[in-house]
Structures are given as structure tokens and as C-alpha cells.
Amino acid sequence: MNKSQVLDALTAVLSPYLGATMARASAQNQCQKLAIEGDQLTPAQVEALVGKLGSGLNVFVGREKAAAVVAEMKRAVGGS
């Protein structure tokens, strides 16, 4: 999967909660933490990235809402 498209898709889902700037920054930040390099992401890397973002969101929105956002992120990157 194309990294830029994945980040765009994740940013679009997270922006209503985190704001566009933080959504983009946090997606990029998690990529660095997961040592994701290059322009392409494997499905496992996308899964790990979405999981990391979802677990961070948990403390702000609660487990159920975070799970819903994770599902939405998965749907969004499915089309990337």
C-alpha cells in the first residue's frame, strides 16, 4: 500500500477528533516509532499503525469509541 495514501486516509478519519494537524503528525509519529520506512506499507504494518493510533485514542474517547474509529480507519485504508 502506498504510504502517502494510507496517511491521508488515516488523517481524514482522525481529523474530526484530533484536528488535521495532530492527526497527520500522530500518524507520521507512529510510523517513526514502528520504524516504518520507504513509500510502501505491508498489510501488517498498516495493521500495527492503526492499532497504535487506536490505543492512543482510547484515553481520550474510551474503548468503545476508539474501537469504532479503528474500524473506520481499517475501512478507509482498505481502499488505499
Binding site: L14, Y17, L18, G19, M22, V59, F60, G62, R63
Partner: protein, 268 residues
């Protein structure tokens, strides 16, 4: 419930529209003949109670919407405990003012309730900072937060020394003097973590998380300003500040209710 944020916003505008002109034009016929002191006493007391109760209910529900293991649950719970203590204090004051028709007593049992609430507010903000820092979002480094907190502590201490000087020197009974100092000091203790939380949550501007925290932090800033003005009002006999003090307290509770309602809407 869905419309509560809009309702709270409208209520905030009404509060400003009612109290601010009274502070600016106290002798206007409107305030002399129609909106009398009795009206303001009832309006102020009841609106504070309504919005404090709303803030309490929504913060309690927000806390309950997080599971036991979630690091945000305890600070939301502490916030609701602090609000409960404040609701007890305001209920006593409303009873005296509205039911007994007497002026607000000071000091009174209400102050004991308020004093019990403050430590929970201070603790909840430090717990929020810890929880939000550990969430893994880029919200600034620990060093940045220490610098912001230190700068805020120094700035607020300077403001406190200047603002509370006259309050310290006033010849009032010991308990009253202690309370006149305790309220602003607690507010300053709250505003240090609030300044760090402003840094953290400002990073979320444009999103719903920012709208929640902007309201909650605005609530505590209004409360702090109200406490400092109240200390002046009581100690130095500035009766002209009373409408502004009432407006600041009421706005504080409106903002808190708004922020807590938004959090509950987000996390339920």
C-alpha cells in the same frame, strides 16, 4: 442531550448580557426598577446550581464511559468529585439567598465544601496530564511541559503577590483572611497544570478534543479570575465588582458543563 452544548452556549451569552451591563451601568432604570437585586440574587444562584449540576452529571457519565483500566477514568472521576463538593457549597448558598432571603454568608459551611473540592481539581489535572502524555501523541516533551509549568508558576506567583497584597493587609477576621487567600492560592495551584494541559490540548485544535478542553480550561480560568475579584470585593468593599464576579462564576460553571457534556457525547 444532543442540544445541550448549544443551550449552554446560549446561556453563557445570556449571563454576559445580563450581568455585564449591570456592572457598567448600575444606576440605569432597567436595573433600578426592573432587574432588581432580588432578581440578580435568584438568577445568579439558580443558574450556578443548574450548570454545576449539569457539569457534575456529565463528568460522572464521562468517567463511567471509560473502563476501569483506562488512565482517563480516575481524573474524570476526581473532576466529578470536585464538582460535587462545589455543588454542595452552592446549594447551601442558594438556600440561604433564595429560600431564607438573606445575603450570602461569608465564611460559611459552603466554604468548607468548596475547600474540599479544590484538591480534587488540582489532582485531576495532573492525572490528565499523565494520562494524555502516555497516550503516545506528539503533545510536547516532558522538558517542554516542565518549562511551561515553571513559567506559569512564576508568572502566577508574581500576579498572586501583587493581587493578594491588599487582601493580606486588610483588617478582617482570621478565618476570613485565610479563606481570602486560600481561594486564589488554590486557583493558582490549579492554573499551573491547566497551563500544561493548554499546551497539550491546543495541539488538538480543529478537532472535538480541543472543543472539550477549551471549554473546561476556560471554566477554571474564569473561576480563578472570579476568586481573585471576590477576594477584592469582600476585603476592600468593592461592591461594584459583584456583577462581574457573579458573571465569572456562572460562566465558569457554564463552560465546565459544556466541556463535560462534549466529553460525554464523544465517549459514550
Amino acid at each position: 442531550m444532543r442540544h445541550f452544548p448549544a443551550l449552554a452556549g446560549a446561556a453563557g451569552l445570556v449571563v454576559v448580557a445580563v450581568f455585564l451591563p449591570k456592572a457598567l451601568f448600575p444606576e440605569a432604570p432597567l436595573y433600578r426598577d426592573w432587574l432588581t437585586e432580588a432578581f440578580f440574587t435568584r438568577f445568579g444562584a439558580l443558574s450556578k446550581l443548574v450548570f454545576l449540576a449539569a457539569a457534575l452529571v456529565f463528568s460522572h457519565r464521562a468517567a463511567s464511559s471509560f473502563d476501569e483500566a483506562n488512565a482517563a477514568r480516575l481524573p474524570w472521576r476526581f473532576l466529578s468529585v470536585g464538582l460535587f463538593a462545589f455543588l454542595l457549597g452552592q446549594s447551601y448558598l442558594a438556600f440561604v439567598q433564595v429560600v431564607l432571603g438573606q445575603p450570602s454568608p461569608y465564611p460559611s459551611p459552603a466554604d468548607a465544601a468548596f475547600m474540599m473540592g479544590y484538591p480534587f481539581f488540582v489532582a485531576c489535572f495532573w492525572l490528565f496530564i499523565r494520562a494524555y502524555r502516555e497516550a503516545g501523541f506528539p503533545v510536547g516533551t516532558a522538558a517542554q511541559h516542565v518549562r511551561i509549568g515553571s513559567a506559569a508558576a512564576l508568572g502566577l506567583a508574581a500576579i498572586g503577590v501583587v493581587a493578594l497584597g491588599p487582601v493580606l493587609q486588610a483588617s478582617v477576621p482570621g478565618l476570613e483572611r485565610a479563606l481570602n487567600l486560600a481561594y486564589p492560592v488554590f486557583d493558582l495551584l490549579i492554573l499551573v497544570p491547566v497551563s500544561i494541559l493548554l499546551r497539550i490540548t491546543f495541539a488538538f485544535r480543529g478537532g472535538r478534543l480541543w472543543t472539550i478542553w477549551a471549554a473546561i480550561l476556560a471554566g477554571f480560568i474564569s473561576m480563578g479570575a472570579g476568586d481573585i475579584l471576590y477576594a477584592y470585593f469582600v476585603t476592600l468593599g468593592h461592591g461594584d465588582l459583584e456583577p462581574i464576579v457573579d458573571a465569572l462564576y456562572t460562566l465558569a460553571y457554564v463552560f465546565l458543563a459544556l466541556g463535560c457534556a462534549r466529553q460525554y457525547q464523544l465517549s459514550r
